[in-house]
Symmetry: C2
Subunit: 253 residues, 2 copies
């Protein structure tokens, strides 16, 4: 296709990599990833997110326990991206400002957004160098425990985990819904019958083999949706209570 | 520096572009951006975010009004990335599932994270093709109004706006804090005196000229922090009330 350059080629080939070679990422390469992180767009220049680089193997096991995914502990690099209003709050306090707006949900969401974008920027940079990546949304299975393990002070909060290493597997490209179902012009368009619209996609998903479960293909997308909605994890559902515990003011009326 | 490839080179040169040439983005190029969006990592494969492509000029003016930034209306492409649990909720309902967990904050945050990552993936793809980008966090100045303007149904919510076009300006690279202040090993490290640590950075920021205000350099970073914390926008601070209004269950105890 016209216009496809090397960057876009890699983006179109994105796969989650869960098994890595037993090979460390050179510090120089890691430094480059952090320089890319540093240059990520950030809301009004506030740079209100940070990274915890987990190198301690015992700590990795504990985080893998929260994630309920043993392979988390085998990530050559394990990064936890966090909301960080603590740093700027301290800066403002040192300048004799009360800075209590640091606690509001506007600051929380700005910092959360920054953290996600930084993570994705690092993913792209890593993949461009032949590294593989895996996001761990599962750190939020117990966000309170993650705060404790990483000694996160008030006004910080875990957003997403990221494993990085040299790939030791080569998964199929996972089928995705057509974008015509996800891009709307000027207003959201509700459809009459979604199952009709995703019929082909549902079929396509049944031909995909997940390397985590190699014996059989995946279920249809619509069945996966139902199965996901069947499971509510109270600690994940009640995340706002932990966000408040970290010092943020929910301002719920 | 060793290891720098074309992708990373572009990432390191990232600047926000606010002025664009009066030149449309070819549909083929836009289609490529949407293919990249489609391939972005997504929590447990649920693809619970969507995009509203704003092409109606009147609507652009209205959104620019919410943003309080007139140049929003001049973006050749204006995309609003949204949380979208509505689609999967409908899919589950069509399969006779009550799907009430679609309303919990776990689903909200998963979808919010997906939306941010998709936006950043599109930004990287756009910049790789010589396009310029600008994020509009300012759509959240009045999230309720944005929901209304874009006719967002329940279980959807605006996350971030993105303007894309051919650059008509060439801003300086904006100074950023050193990453040693933002990357911690195994545990968050609180510092004794932040103003000491950012002294050089504070100075460096004073040499940066923002094209929005070309007459004089910016203020030091620490002064910018104080000035940002001075301003609390109630509609932004009370965002959770609008999220609830869109059908999500905050589950706050």
């Amino acid at each position: 296709m016209k216009g496809i350059n090397e960057t876009i080629q890699k983006q179109l080939e994105h796969r989650t990599i869960r098994e890595f070679k037993d090979q460390k990422i050179p510090e120089e390469v890691f430094g480059l990833l952090m320089e890319v992180a540093r240059r990520t767009a950030t809301a009004v220049g506030m740079q209100a997110c940070s990274i915890i680089r987990v190198t301690d193997q015992e700590l990795k096991y504990k985080i893998a326990g929260v994630c309920n995914q043993e392979y988390v502990a085998r990530s050559p690099e394990l990064l936890i991206f966090i909301v960080d209003q603590y740093r700027n709050y301290q800066i403002a306090k040192e300048k004799s400002h009360t800075a209590e707006t640091a606690r509001d949900m506007d600051r929380f969401f700005s910092a959360f957004t920054d953290a996600c974008m930084m993570a994705q920027n690092v993913v792209i940079a890593a993949e461009s160098m032949g590294l593989g990546t895996v996001y761990f949304g599962s750190i939020l299975n117990d966000s309170e425990k993650i705060c404790e393990l990483l000694k996160l002070p008030e006004l910080t909060f875990p957003v997403i985990g990221l494993g990085i290493g040299y790939p030791n597997q080569s998964p199929q490209l996972k089928p995705r819904m057509e974008m015509k179902l996800r891009v709307f012009e000027n207003a959201y368009a509700m459809l009459e019958n979604y199952l009709d619209e995703i019929r082909e996609y549902d079929e396509e998903m049944r031909t995909y083999y997940d390397l985590r479960d190699p014996g059989r293909p995946l279920d249809s997308f619509s069945n996966q949706v139902v199965s996901r909605y069947n499971n509510g994890n109270p600690k994940r559902q009640e995340i706002l209570n932990i966000i408040r515990k970290q010092g943020f003011d929910l301002m719920v009326k």
